[in-house]
């Protein structure tokens, strides 16, 4: 149990909301009493000692007031539930499944199939016990188990039969891989004696967990494929003759084919009895099953090879808390970044949380020529990331953890990000915003949201009108959303893009729109949303790239859409094709300055450099590493799609050895991949025109926005940005 200070926490049902619409807030407090809530418009979320300071303006809304504080729990762990209890109360039955356990013997029971309730000590279950032994239990009786523990990451065919009238239990496991010096087949038989409680009450049938009161616990870690339930208790000989998925004369109660309806949360019963189930907390679908033979890597082409679902004890989709208050967004409220501030006085503690959301303009119009496109897909990808412990070889110094890092690592029930691995070491493919997300709050580390408020702060300081729109808005509305604007500006790190988002931005630039790419490592990873599951993103770390983990071969295609995930470059759409530059290096211990190139003196670029001296270093200051070029950086490359008429206006190249060249461009490893020796490690500021009067300007650096406020917003980074924003927002042809 964590000894860190208690926290009041919350989240919303939507990320983006328009005037006149409602947004619900869900709050949980560790202490009873009252909390106060109010809404503020966020100007700057940088609360560090060196920055422009935290700035937010309170807004009078219907939310203002006091609310009853209560605890709302989070239940992690995925499973499937089949709500036809009576069907599984058979007096005798046989259970059959293919399983690929990943944490056998982790000290916990891990359920494969059954309707056991641990609180009532009723029902039955086929499961792995705390030592990784295949076991069967019914009612309160001790289990029958196979003596040989299962091996992790091996496919097993497991079967069990049970006759409630006699208490007879037969168990069998067959490992598909046969090794010398180890039997692949094991069985056990025994009697539980009279077990009237086994079928005493009708209970929901679960796959990968069992009930304990109102909760589901004993989550399975690993894959389950083709589970079936037969009526009648087969003997050991008959169990031995059962082949996975093969038809038998035995009557079926249910047989689930996990390769059906792959893009949904439904598990389909193909027995003809329609005992379909529902997946809870998003276990990973589109996973290689026991019959995968490497002949196909796309589940859509051979769905039968992808009959497995990978369950985890730390999966989490939706906390499903009850609503505590609802904001009715006032008509006429200015578009922008907002947050609900929650404050509770409890004993001698003051508990607070700041829950961000985004107010877009009215849905039928823009209210400014400029839109700030908040990269919420990227925020989602990083949500509650545990990555802080894995960066020291990238930063060049020892790990430094902050309070949020500690809270997240000590409270894993808040769920994981697509930068993390599950408790069994497998990569996290889904990240949801329907939970408190501690690392995407105003304040704290200058990364994503807080770093992007350097942009809102600068826009406010320069009195430049802007609308705020989000990635979810863009995904759902496409070019219709963007074409309301003359100019669209990105955040500092718009890394994750769906096909719909990328198509929309591309169309925008081709139809005369002007795009300011005010960041780096953008448009890099391919992700997907699913319309029927709001607030969750899917990603696979396929093939190559600067990966936090590596997808298993054959698991590169997303379950939500079937698309190949991984790098956009590997789908033939490198970022250079869209914005002129693409990710080339990262390092997090310093940033540097740009120097003008001859291209910057071209008449086409004159408007960009008005007020900038010929030999002036651009951005030799800033809040992120002390320069405008740094953290993550991009470069132009004609071979990757940089347009031939692109002007490389300025280049930064003085990077430290802790900057590392991206691995997807390396044919083989070698010694020249660091900032002090690798020619590809440079940051290119670029400009190019697009058809129909459009244009793209790219700073190619995450650190850029952190330099805008230097010297009270009077500096050359600010000047260049203002020159471009004002010119791009002006409809006069370029």
């Amino acid at each position: 149990m964590s000894k860190l200070p208690l926290r009041i926490l919350g989240y919303t049902d939507k990320e983006s909301v328009a005037p006149g619409e409602d947004i619900n807030f869900f709050i949980s407090s560790p202490e009873r009493g009252k909390f106060q809530a109010r809404i503020l418009r966020l100007i700057c979320g940088d609360d560090g000692p060196d920055g422009p300071g935290f700035k937010a303006d309170p807004i009078e809304t219907n939310v203002d007031g006091s609310y009853e504080a209560r605890h709302q729990p989070i239940h992690c762990g995925s499973y499937a539930i089949v709500n036809d209890p009576a069907a599984f109360q058979a007096p005798a039955l046989t259970l059959d499944a293919m399983v690929w356990p990943t944490l056998p013997g982790n000290g916990n029971a891990q359920v494969i199939l059954g309707n056991f309730d641990a609180s009532a000590q009723e029902g039955y279950a086929l499961y792995l016990d705390e030592n990784g032994l295949l076991s069967f239990r019914a009612g309160p009786k001790p289990s029958i188990r196979i003596a040989r523990p299962m091996l992790a990451r091996h496919w097993y065919h497991v079967t069990a039969s049970f006759d409630a009238s006699t208490g007879a239990v037969m168990l069998r496991q067959r490992r598909l891989l046969d090794y010398a010096l180890s039997d692949a087949i094991d069985s056990a038989a025994g009697s539980l004696g009279e077990v009237a409680a086994a079928n005493a009450a009708a209970r929901p049938f679960l796959i990968a967990g069992w009930k304990e009161g109102d909760r589901v616990v004993a989550h399975f870690n690993g894959k389950i494929d083709s589970p079936r339930v037969f009526a009648g208790a087969l003997g050991l000989n008959a169990l031995a003759e059962l082949e996975p998925q093969a038809k038998t004369g035995q009557p079926l109660i249910a047989a689930w084919d996990f390769s059906r309806e792959m893009t949904t949360t439904c598990v389909v019963d193909v027995s003809g009895n329609d005992r379909h189930g529902e997946l809870i907390n998003l276990p990973t679908r589109a996973m290689k099953g026991w019959s995968w033979d490497g002949s196909e890597g796309n589940w859509q082409h051979k769905p039968g090879h992808y009959g497995a679902i990978h369950f985890h004890d730390d999966d989490l989709y939706d906390c499903a808390w009850d609503t505590d208050f609802t904001l009715k967004v006032p008509e006429g409220l200015k578009s922008g970044v907002y947050f609900a501030e929650i404050v509770q006085k409890a004993h001698d503690l003051i508990l607070t949380d700041r829950i961000p959301f985004y107010v877009r303009p009215p849905r039928d119009r823009a209210t400014s020529a400029l839109a700030l496109l908040i990269p919420t897909a990227s925020y989602l990808a990083y949500s509650n990331s545990q990555a802080a412990a894995r960066w020291e070889l990238s930063t060049g110094n020892f790990t430094v953890l902050n309070l949020v890092d500690r809270y997240l690592t000590e409270n894993p029930e808040l769920g994981l990000s697509v930068y993390d691995t599950h408790s069994d070491g497998s990569g996290v493919c889904y990240s949801s915003r329907l939970r408190p997300v501690l690392n995407m709050r105003p304040g704290g580390v200058l990364w994503q949201l807080s770093a992007d408020t350097h942009i809102t702060d600068w826009l406010e300081a320069k009195r430049i009108p802007y609308d705020v729109i989000t990635d979810e808005d863009l995904h759902h509305e496409g070019i219709d959303l963007l074409q309301k604007y003359k100019c669209v500006m990105t955040g500092s790190h718009p890394e994750y893009y769906t096909l719909e988002m990328l198509d929309a931005v591309r169309q925008f630039t081709q139809q005369g729109g002007r795009l300011i790419y005010l960041g780096a490592n953008g448009f890099y990873w391919r992700v997907a949303y699913r319309a029927s599951l709001p607030g969750v993103l899917e990603h696979r770390r396929a093939e190559d790239g600067m990966r936090a983990w590596i997808s298993e071969p054959g698991e590169y295609h997303m379950s939500f859409t079937g698309e190949l995930s991984g790098l956009w470059q590997r789908s033939g759409r490198p970022p250079q094709m869209l914005v002129g530059t693409g990710f080339t290096a990262q390092g997090f211990n310093m940033a540097t300055y740009y120097e003008r190139t001859p291209d910057s003196f071209h008449p086409r670029a004159e408007f960009i450099f008005q007020g900038i001296g010929e030999n002036e270093r651009i951005g030799d200051f800033g809040l992120l590493g002390g320069g405008a070029a740094g953290w993550e950086i991009d470069r132009a490359d004609p071979l990757l799609g940089t347009a031939p008429h692109t002007l490389v206006l300025a280049v930064a190249s003085e990077f430290s050895p802790s900057y590392h060249w991206v691995k997807e461009e390396m044919g083989h490893t070698h010694s020249s991949i660091n900032g002090d020796s690798c020619p590809q490690i440079r940051c290119d500021m670029t400009y190019f025109e697009t058809p129909n009067g459009g244009a793209v300007f790219s700073t190619s650096s995450i650190s850029w926005a952190g330099s805008l406020s230097h010297n009270n917003y009077e500096n050359n980074v600010s000047t260049i940005t203002e020159n471009v924003v004002r010119r791009f927002s002006n409809p006069v042809p370029l």
Binding site: M1, S2, K3, G48, P49, D314, Q386, A389, R390, E392, L393, G396, N397, F398, T399, V400, L401, N402, L403, R406, T409, E410, N411, P412, S423, N589, M590, S656, P657, S658, D676
Partner: protein
């Protein structure tokens, strides 16, 4: 692979003189890489107690959910905390005390 022992005391001294140097000499970089880990779970790390003001050392839990064990000493500069972390990592790697105090 670089053998870390008391013969590298001069490199330890160089790190101590400026733990936040982003352009350390190549042999200092190699020493640092030997002391660093790809995943700090289960290892000693620096913990920021109050931004810009107070740091400590702590042992990161080996598994998700494990509590981070804070050590008692509080440092008033990040540099001091990094140097203390260096010495702990040296001991963890070599089994011997870092020859530089």
């Amino acid at each position: 692979m670089l053998r870390v022992d008391k013969g590298l005391a001069h490199l330890a001294q160089e790190y101590k003189s400026d733990p936040l140097n982003v352009f350390p000499r190549p042999d200092v970089q190699v020493l640092l890489r030997r002391l660093m880990v790809a995943d700090a779970r289960g290892h000693t790390v620096v913990v920021c107690l109050e931004p810009g003001k107070a740091w400590s050392l702590g042992r990161h839990g080996a598994c998700l959910g494990d509590e981070l064990e804070l050590e008692g000493e509080i440092f008033d500069t990040l540099e001091a905390a990094l140097w203390a972390c260096f010495r702990v990592r040296w001991r963890a790697l070599t089994g011997a005390e870092c020859p530089v105090e």
